[in-house]
Amino acid sequence: MPQFEQIEVFQSLIFWSVVSFALLFFLLKKYAFPPILQALEDRENKIRTEIGDAEKLKQEAQELKANLEAELKSTHEKAKTIVQLATSEAKKIQEKTLDETRAKNKQMQNEMEREIEISRNKLMGEVRGFTAALTIASTEKFLKKTMDDADRKRLTEESIEEVIKEMQQRQMN
């Protein structure tokens, strides 16, 4: 190939090219690469730290999330308990009120019954009183009308004996 046939021409050029490249490489390695490499390394380190931070943050966030969830759960439970308590309390109050009302009704009923009983007794007492008074009055009238002097005399004598007997008994006692 004709291109390779000219190698003789460019032989020095190749040599110098290699030399200058080597020199350049050496210079670069000596002066330019270390800062670049340092910068790269710094960056890498930074990125790595940031990734670590991010992971830490993520972990923290997860922990926080878990905590929050747990808290939420406990809050839910608490709320549930409170509702239950309130419900049972309300129930108790309701029952108590019901009982009280029942007791009150019962008491009122008893009082009414007692009052009715008292009124009834009073009325019956009055009726008895009137009946007795009437009976006694008519008996008195009847006796006054039907008793004659002989009866009265006999009664007086009998009652004298009765009274004497009573006094005798009392004296003995």
Binding site: L143, D149, L155, I164, M167
Partner: protein
């Protein structure tokens, strides 16, 4: 209360000053007569309870009263004493207690009899002899006729009562009727 105390004290004093038992009844009668006058004459009560009338006048009034009623000397003395001590208005109580004291000293007992009809002498004698035997004391019987009793008699000796009247029986019957429960 104070009336009873005063009555008792003066009655006992009067009894101590009357030594002879035979004088007791006349003294008691005098006392009761005076008491009756005070009970019936309001003016007399007002005269003695009036503090503005001088004591001398009151004493004179007492003496005049004694003269008119012709009372025993002890009774007159008592009345003057009572007037001086402003206790003449307790005469009723004094007479009441004196009567009890007289009864005790003479060993006698007063029996008040309420009867529906007038008691015959035999009735009264029967009562007197029986009660004398029972009580062992002289019995003084005082009879009131009360037609409201319907029949029978009621006896009252001190605070004891023996009732055998129709009225009492009817009252007992009435009480029983009133207490009886209606089934």
């Amino acid at each position: 209360m104070i009336e009873n105390l005063i009555g008792k004290r003066y009655a006992e004093a009067l009894s101590r000053s009357v030594k002879e038992n035979s004088l007791l009844n006349p003294v008691l009668e005098n006392l009761q007569a005076c008491k009756n006058i005070f009970a019936t004459q309001d003016q007399l009560v007002r005269f003695f309870s009036q503090p503005s009338i001088p004591l001398e006048k009151k004493n004179n009034m007492v003496r005049e009263l004694c003269d008119r009623l012709n009372v025993e000397q002890v009774v007159c003395n008592l009345l003057v004493l009572l007037s001086e001590r402003k206790k003449i208005l307790f005469l009723g109580k004094i007479a009441e207690y004196f009567e009890k004291i007289v009864d005790r000293r003479l060993n006698q007992v007063r029996v008040s009899v309420r009867s529906a009809q007038t008691l015959s002498n035999e009735n009264i004698e029967r009562l007197r002899s029986a009660l004398t035997k029972i009580l062992g004391k002289t019995v003084l019987i005082n009879v009131h006729v009360d037609e409201a009793l319907i029949g029978g008699i009621q006896l009252k000796i001190g605070d004891q009562v023996a009732d055998a009247t129709i009225k009492n029986r009817l009252t007992l019957l009435k009480q029983k009727l009133e207490k009886e429960e209606v089934a």
